[in-house]
């Protein structure tokens, strides 16, 4: 029931006000529509990307395998019967596989047919048997039904990636196709979980190539990076924010840190190559050196994130502590750092996530080598996940196409876990005192 307020000037009319309001709402709606369409576009690309990768890569988590009745024949493997590991290690396990296949297909009597039989299996299948026997010597003399990996062409055929006929890219003879079909109808040939992808290092044979070496290499590199860049980064940020007096010198440092954060990572790789390998003589291709190079890459990011987190701690916390007679260091360690820690941790993990996906500096320090063994220590030669993706993407075999995508999926899972950890840590520390 208020009275109408007199307009300030005659030009302010009800119609004019309403028109302006309508225009304002219209602009508002436009802006919101723009925002929504931007998000929709971004999500579309993301779904497209993820869809392609998962669509191409999920089949790599399975590997076609043939179930064979293998007799660990002592006469073949250990003619002396002494159980000497050196003899067992070099024995002809391929012969066990050939024998088993020939029992399954007694009609394959000619040389060419027998060669075809061996082409069914992966050239590394015998290593599988050797590993089993060395792990469990009591297998000697027994006959076991064992799933062994097929060769990559058979695997691709089973997965439907290649056709059966020559026109469709198939490379099998009619006899081979018949045998493959018989194995499948017998339930002896099936795509099963691809354990090699997670237990083996790199290999020239796609069916035996695994990510274990790359995962362990990435893990060691990251461990070195965290252990170095977190304390260094936090110390630098604390010094710059809490101790250094604002001066021309700190300005120069600040500008340089911001610039370093934008330096292409390959430059840090070259720096690492020169300093860590050429000057300090550290081992080539080692996760230790990779971690050092990644430390250079991630330090600026962590320092900047930590400084932002420290800046966000309200000044009254510092005043309250100092007014009680706390020293500057006590003020920092007792009050400021705990309050800034969620932000620092988030920044660090995001920096680490960047480091996990970093490829260029690792190429420079030699982590791009073909490494079959899974590294046992941070100074053993290794690759890293992104480098493994790069290597496999450059391999021509059909089997590496799906494995490249699988490696990308594993890397994305790595990143998702790390980001989830960042969110969890932030929530956990924030909850402490409301």
């Amino acid at each position: 029931m208020t009275e109408m307020v007199e307009p300030l000037t005659a030009s302010v009319t009800v119609a004019g006000v309403n028109a302006r309001l309508r225009r304002r709402y219209a602009v508002d709606r436009w802006f919101r529509a723009l925002g929504v369409s931007a998000i929709v576009a971004a999500l579309t690309f993301l779904i497209l990307l993820l869809g392609t990768i998962i669509g191409q890569g999920y089949t790599a988590f399975a590997q076609s395998q043939i179930r064979l009745a293998i007799t660990f024949d002592a006469a073949i493997l250990d003619p002396d019967g002494r159980g000497d590991p050196a003899v067992l290690g070099t024995a002809d396990y391929g012969r066990l596989i050939r024998q088993s296949l020939e029992t399954l297909f007694p009609d394959a009597t000619e040389r060419a047919q027998r060669r075809e039989l061996s082409r069914l299996m992966s050239p590394g299948a015998d290593l599988e048997l050797r590993g089993m026997l060395l792990a469990d010597p009591s297998l000697m003399g027994r006959t076991e039904e064992i799933w062994l990996p097929t060769s990559s062409p058979v695997d691709q055929l089973v997965k439907g990636h290649t056709g059966r006929t020559a026109e469709e890219g198939g490379q099998f003879t009619d006899g081979e196709l018949r045998r493959i079909d018989r194995l499948r109808s017998d339930g002896r040939l099936a795509a099963r979980f691809n354990k090699w992808l997670f237990t083996q290092g790199d290999s020239r044979q796609p069916e035996l190539a695994g990510l274990a070496g790359a995962v362990v290499g990435s893990f060691y590199s990251l461990l070195v990076t965290v252990l170095l860049s977190f304390p260094l980064g936090v110390a630098a940020a604390v010094y710059l924010e809490e101790f250094a007096r604002q001066s021309r010198w700190t300005d120069i440092v600040e500008v340089n840190i911001n610039n370093l954060a934008a330096v292409p990572s390959i430059v840090f790789g070259l720096l690492g190559l020169e300093i860590f390998l050429n000057v300090l003589g550290l081992p080539r291709s080692a996760p230790l050196v990779g971690g050092l190079a990644l430390t250079l890459v991630s330090l600026p990011t962590i320092i900047i994130a930590a400084r932002v987190a420290l800046k966000a701690v309200p000044p009254w916390v510092r005043e309250a502590a100092l007014a009680l007679g706390a020293s500057r260091l006590q003020m920092v360690t007792h009050h400021v750092l705990p309050l800034a820690m969620p932000g620092i941790l988030t920044g660090t993990i995001i920096g680490m996530a960047r480091a996990v996906g970093e490829t260029a500096p690792l190429l420079m320090i030699g982590m791009v080598a073909f490494v079959v063994n899974v590294p046992a220590t941070p100074v053993d030669p290794a690759t890293a996940l992104p480098v493994q993706i790069y290597l496999w993407a450059a391999s021509p075999e059909r089997g590496f196409v799906e494995r490249t995508s699988a490696a990308i999926i594993v890397l994305l899972c790595f990143l998702a876990v790390m980001n989830a950890a960042a969110i969890y840590l932030r929530k956990r520390y924030e909850r402490r005192w409301g």
């Binding site: 916390v317 005043e319 309250a320 100092l322 009680l324 005192w433 409301g434």
Partner: protein
């Protein structure tokens, strides 16, 4: 030098002596040649319009101005005849002797107990856990907060009401047994009831501590203080017994301010 301003010092001991104190913030001359004596076990109120230098002066007394880049203090300030601006003086020790309560209640985001125990812990005032607990309980009792929080000492200090938080800050300050307590507009963020409680507390604390309180409220200055100092544009215009300042000020500026002609 303790009674050079010529006032009779018969009953009251002089606790803090400031002589020719100047403060510069970079180029700004924030405090100009201030001479002020503060009597022990009294409440001295610093009043004056915004930006007059009263908070600046307060922060000289525990050297909180040291923290501001470009701040410079000249002149001498002595507490119990000891110059607190000596080069080799330990600021940490000084701040244990001179406590401070801020405008906005600022308990640490820790438990009530840990808030009060923090000072004694860093200064090593308690040998055992039992002693520490005793200090905390005594401090909370002196701050008139114990009855309200005794069942939830482990809950967050930030969960208390504004007035309780401010009394918690007072308990935190007195837990290190200071001689002087500085209060920078301690009630300006509180409602009238909480204000009344804090004012009452200030009056009680006078028994044991020398209190200097900056306030924008002249009623508050009149209610809680025995002495009042009026600052204007960085100068100390007048200092005297509160009653005299409010009833019969010597200076025209003081009169103008307390009667509300400017402010």
């Amino acid at each position: 030098m303790s009674n050079s301003d010529g006032e009779p010092v018969a009953s009251a001991k002089i606790k803090v002596v400031a002589r020719d104190v100047n403060v510069f913030y970079s180029d700004k001359h924030a405090l100009k040649a201030v001479n002020l004596d503060v009597r022990a076990n009294e409440v001295t109120a610093l009043i004056g319009p915004s930006g007059c230098g009263k908070s600046t002066f307060l922060r000289c007394l525990n050297r909180m101005n040291d923290l501001i880049d470009g701040a410079r203090v000249t002149g001498t300030i002595a507490i119990d005849q000891q110059d607190i601006y000596l080069k080799d003086l330990d600021v940490v020790q000084l701040r244990a002797r001179v406590g401070m309560v801020f405008q906005k209640p600022n308990p640490f985001p820790k438990s009530i107990f840990d808030n009060v125990a923090y000072g004694p812990r860093i200064h090593g005032l308690a040998g055992t856990g039992a002693e520490l607990e005793e200090i905390v309980v005594t401090s909370l009792k002196r701050a008139g907060l114990f009855e309200e929080v005794k069942d939830r000492l482990n809950e967050a200090g930030t969960g208390l009401s504004g007035g309780q938080q401010q009394r918690l800050c007072i308990a935190r300050a007195i837990a290190v047994s200071p001689e002087v307590i500085l209060m920078d507009e301690p009630c300006s963020a509180l409602d009238p009831i909480a204000t009344a409680k804090v004012e009452e507390l200030i009056d009680e604390l006078r028994q044991n501590y020398t209190i200097i309180v900056v306030t924008h409220s002249m009623q508050q200055a009149a209610r809680v203080s025995q002495r009042t100092a009026f600052f204007h544009l960085g100068e100390l215009v007048e200092v005297g017994d509160t009653e005299q300042i409010f009833t019969n000020p010597n200076h025209k500026l003081t009169q103008g301010y307390i009667t509300g002609r400017f402010g």
